[in-house]
């Protein structure tokens, strides 16, 4: 079953605020082998996925979306940043489904996740396309 076009344009509620700590940045840097930047208070370029991932998980878990988790692949990812994430940022992620395109038995779900501080400062937009394979027989 392909996904309905009812998903297009849908915006999910913002995720719970996430307080970025120096410790979390250090943990992420260690995991990717990166040297600390900005005295350890500047997050690496792909760090916003930590905040955006729960927004994507909410889309995948939504019963109305009709997405079956085991049939999902991450096709592409892009970050457009106003500035890097920094320790002390309190961030929420708000995901919108920009488009759903059907192509040879798969649906391409393009999402845009706005990452903002709880003070309303826009920090980064994370764009991701998920491939949803037909789960039917």
């Amino acid at each position: 079953m392909s996904l309905g076009t009812g998903l297009v344009g849908r915006t999910f509620p913002p995720t719970d605020p996430y307080l970025v700590s120096r410790e979390k940045i250090a943990e992420f840097n260690l995991a990717i082998g990166a040297a600390p930047v900005g005295g350890g208070s500047t997050a690496p370029l792909t760090f916003p996925i930590v905040v955006a991932f729960p927004a994507m998980a909410a889309l995948l878990a939504d019963p109305d979306a009709g997405i079956e988790l085991e049939h999902v692949l991450h096709r592409d990812q892009r970050f457009e940043q106003v500035r890097p994430v920094r320790a002390g940022d309190r961030l929420t992620a708000t995901l919108t489904v920009d488009s759903v395109r059907s192509l040879a038995g798969v649906d391409l779900v393009s999402t845009r996740t706005e990452v903002d501080t709880t003070d309303g400062e826009h920090v980064v937009t994370a764009y991701a396309t998920l491939v949803h394979r037909d789960g039917g027989p």
């Binding site: 943990e27 990717i32 990166a34 500047t42 370029l45 792909t46 990812q77 890097p84």
Partner: protein
């Protein structure tokens, strides 16, 4: 940093082991078992445990950060997950190499193209960054 169209950026090489994937799963909060369980990875038709696409992208981001020095100079950074990076269960793991080239410089912005490979395979496609210069 001064950028010139056509300039090559110094290739960097990163080793990836199973332990790195476990550490990344925890740091990123992505516990999909295909990144740590051989059994689950094979059950969905993969040759074995594969790296998170976002882990490979993070390595490309490391290279980008080394080239630009200041991550605040990065305006955009994007990639397509072209092929999985299989990570064997040994102490050596596999190697991901990241090279780059300056495509164009215009209006204070440089567009960089990154080449991300593991073995003979191009594992990330269409990897581009726009940086202030």
């Amino acid at each position: 940093m001064t950028w010139q169209a056509g300039a090559e950026l110094a290739e960097l090489s990163f080793s990836v082991t199973r332990a790195d994937l476990v550490r990344y799963a925890g740091a990123a909060g992505d516990f999909n078992p295909i990144h740590w369980s051989e059994r689950v990875a094979r059950s969905v038709g993969l040759p074995g445990v594969i790296a998170h696409g976002m882990y490979t992208m993070a390595l490309a981001g490391r290279a980008l950060t080394e080239w630009v020095r200041d991550p605040a100079a990065v305006v955009s950074f994007g990639t397509r997950f072209a092929r999985p990076v299989e990570v064997p269960d040994d102490d050596v793991g596999t190697t991901v190499r990241v090279g780059g080239r300056v495509l164009s410089v215009r209006d204070g912005l440089a567009t960089l193209s990154l080449t991300v490979t593991s073995g003979d395979a191009k594992v990330l496609g269409a990897t581009e960054a726009v940086v202030r210069c």
